[in-house]
Symmetry: C2
C-alpha cells in the first residue's frame, strides 16, 4: 500500500521534504477529552493498552484533530517486564508499579524469556489494526522502553526520585545488572521486530532514564544495549527501510556516542541546541525534537516564536522531524497543540525550497 504522506520517513532518511514533519510524544493522551472518555470506558490504563480496538481508537484520535505526520502506537513502555511476570499495575494518581521486584542476582536468573507472540499479542494486534485503519494516511511508529529504563522500574518497583536501588544494584552487582540488561535487550529486539512485522514503519526506543547515569555508566549500561537491539532489528519491510530512533532524555552530552549506535535518528530533549547537535552529528543521523513541552502552556505568540527559533537553529535542508523534547502533559489546552502543529508546517516551508 502506498503512503499518502511520507514526510516523516523521508526526513528520517535525510531526504528532501516540502515542510518539516511533526508528531508529539504522548500525542494520544490525557490532554484530549476524547482520550479521557475512552480511558474511562476501558477502566484502568492497562486495560486500555491491552484492548487492541480501544488502543487503535486512541492512537487515531489526535490525527483527527491535527495534521500530524505520523501516528504512534498507544501502549506502555513497561509491557515487557509485565510479560516477564513482574505484575505491572497503575495505582490511581501514581505512576506505574510492579508487584514483584528484582533485588538479587537470583531474581535476575529466574526471569523467564518472553514469548512475544503469546504474551504480547495484544500489542501486535493493535499495530495491525492501526495500520489497517490508518489506510496509508501517515506512517505508524512502534516503540519500546530501553533495557536500562525497564531495569530501573523492575528494580525500584516503580518510578523513583534518585534511582538509589537501581544504581546501588548497578554499582555493587555489575554482572547481575549486565545479565538483566542482556535478557531485556533480547526481549526488546524480539518485541520491536514483532511490531515491525505487524506493520510498524519506524521504531523508537525510549531511554527515559539513561540521562541519570554518569557518562561512562550510560555507555556501558544503557547505550551498548540499545546498540545491540538496533543491530538485531529488521531493517527493511514492505520494500521500505524501517528507521530506528533513539531518545535518551538528558542525553545531549552524548550525541556522538548515540550516533554510533547505528540508529537513523536521535531524539533530543529541549535542553539541547538542535543547530549545535546538527553540526556535531547531522551528517550521520536525522534529529527529532525539541520544543520544551511546557511551552504549550504559554500563549500562541510564544509557541510560534519558539517553533520559529528551533526551525532556524536547525536551518535549511532535510533531516529534521519536529517534536516536543518530552511527552505532552495532561493539562495542556488542545487548542495550543493546533497552534504548534500549524506553526511547524507553516514556518518550515522556507527551509525546504
Amino acid at each position: 500500500m502506498s503512503l499518502k504522506n511520507d514526510r516523516f520517513l523521508k526526513a528520517l532518511a535525510r531526504e528532501k521534504v516540502d515542510v518539516t514533519p511533526v508528531w508529539m510524544m504522548r500525542q494520544a493522551g490525557r490532554y484530549l477529552p476524547e482520550y479521557r472518555a475512552i480511558r474511562k470506558q476501558a477502566g484502568d490504563f492497562l486495560s486500555l493498552c491491552q484492548n487492541p480496538e480501544l488502543a487503535c481508537e486512541v492512537t487515531l484520535q489526535p490525527l483527527r484533530r491535527y495534521a500530524f505526520d505520523a501516528a504512534i502506537l498507544f501502549s506502555d513502555i513497561l509491557t515487557i517486564p509485565d510479560a516477564m511476570g513482574q505484575g505491572l499495575y497503575f495505582a490511581e494518581g501514581e505512576g506505574p508499579k510492579f508487584r514483584k521486584v528484582i533485588r538479587s542476582a537470583a531474581d535476575v536468573e529466574s526471569l523467564p524469556d518472553v514469548n512475544i507472540a503469546d504474551e504480547l499479542s495484544y500489542v501486535t494486534d493493535a499495530v495491525a489494526l492501526i495500520r489497517k485503519e490508518l489506510n496509508g494516511s501517515v506512517p505508524l511508529i512502534g516503540f519500546s522502553g530501553s533495557p536500562w529504563t525497564l531495569a530501573t522500574y523492575m528494580i525500584e518497583g516503580g518510578g523513583s526520585k534518585d534511582f538509589r536501588l537501581a544504581k546501588q544494584f548497578l554499582y555493587d552487582h555489575p554482572e547481575a545488572m549486565h545479565l538483566l540488561l542482556d535478557k531485556l535487550a533480547r526481549a526488546v529486539t524480539d518485541y520491536l521486530n514483532a511490531q515491525i512485522r505487524a506493520g510498524a514503519q519506524a521504531v523508537q526506543i525510549f531511554d527515559t532514564w539513561g540521562g541519570i547515569l554518569s557518562s561512562a555508566a550510560y555507555r556501558e549500561f544503557s547505550l551498548d544495549y540499545m546498540s545491540k537491539i538496533i543491530g538485531g532489528l529488521i531493517t527493511e519491510n514492505e520494500g521500505r527501510k524501517v528507521p530506528a530512533i533513539v531518545f535518551t532524555k538528558n542525553g545531549g552530552q552524548w550525541l556522538q556516542a548515540i550516533a554510533g549506535s547505528a540508529c537513523q535518528a536521535i531524539g533530543l530533549d529541549w535542553t539541547t541546541d538542535i543547530g549545535r547537535a546538527r553540526s556535531h552529528v547531522g551528517e550521520r543521523v536525522a534529529l527529532q525534537g525539541n520544543m520544551d513541552p511546557t511551552l504549550l502552556y504559554a500563549g500562541a505568540d510564544a509557541i510560534r516564536r519558539e517553533v520559529a527559533a528551533i526551525l532556524k537553529s536547525f536551518g535549511a535542508g532535510p533531516g529534521h522531524v519536529f517534536n516536543l523534547g518530552h511527552g505532552i502533559t495532561p493539562e495542556v489546552d488542545p487548542e495550543h497543540v493546533a497552534v504548534f502543529v500549524e506553526a511547524v508546517h507553516e514556518l518550515s516551508s522556507q527551509y525546504h525550497t
Copy 2:
C-alpha cells in the same frame, strides 16, 4: 591569618597541589547524627539557619570527622527571597515554600530592595564566627542561589516537577521576568560581597534549576545574570583572590558558555565526563566534581573504583576540586563518606608529582 591548608584555593587557581582537594555539597547535613541533634535543638530548619552559633556548629561538624579541604557556610539558598518579604517556610517532610508568590509584573515591581546588612546579618554573623572558629585550618566557601533558581521558587511558591508556572511566566512575560532576575542579581551580588567581607574566601552560585531550560533560555535567563553577578563581585580580599564557582545542575552541554562568565571554576554534575570537560574548558577554568552522590549507597570497593575513574578521567596536573555531582542525601552511611574522602586523597597523589 595564614591558611594551614590552601589546596582548595590553589586548585581553583589551577596551581600545583600535593593531592586533589575535596569537599561535598551539603557536607553539613542530615546524614550526620550530630547534625540531626543540633537541628532538633534549633527547632525548625530556618531557625537553625538564622542562629549564627548553631549554623557555625553544623558547618564545623563534618570537618571533625573527615579531612575535607574546605568548609561551606551552612545556610539556605532561599534567604534572599525571604528577606524580600516572600515568607519562606519549611513544611515538615516537604521542601521550601513561600507564603507570597510572584504571578504578575506588578508583583515583581513591588518587590523591595534588600538591605543585606539589616536583613541578612544572621548570615554574615555566621560567616565571621565560622572563620574565627576555623582558625585558618581550611578556607570557607560562601554561597547563594542563582537568580533564575530563586525566581523559580518565588513564582512556583516552592519546588516543582515541571516548573510550569515559572516557564509560563518566562515565555509570556519575558520583560517582567528580566526585571525580576535583575532585582535578584543585584541582591545576590550584594549578598555574596557581604559574605566575602565577613570572611568567605570563595563563593559558589548554585544554579540548581538552570538545567531545566532550553539552551537559548538558559543563556538569556540564567547564565547572563550569573555573569552580571560575577562581574560585580569583590575579586580580592585579605591579600588573596576570591574565586567564584558556578554550578548549573544539568549544565554539561553549556560549559563553553559558562566558562565565558568569568567564573574561576565550573561545578559539574555526574553526567558530564570530566576529562572531556577539561579538554573543552580546562585552559580557562578549574573544574569541580563530579561523583554521582548515589555511589555513596554502594560498597567501599565501588566508591574507590569510581573515585579512581574520575581522577583518571581528569588526568595529571592542577585544576580539579573533587566533589559530588550534587548534594549528599540524608540516608547515606557516614562511614561511606570516610571511604570517599580518603580515596580522593590517597588515589590522587599520583596525578600531582
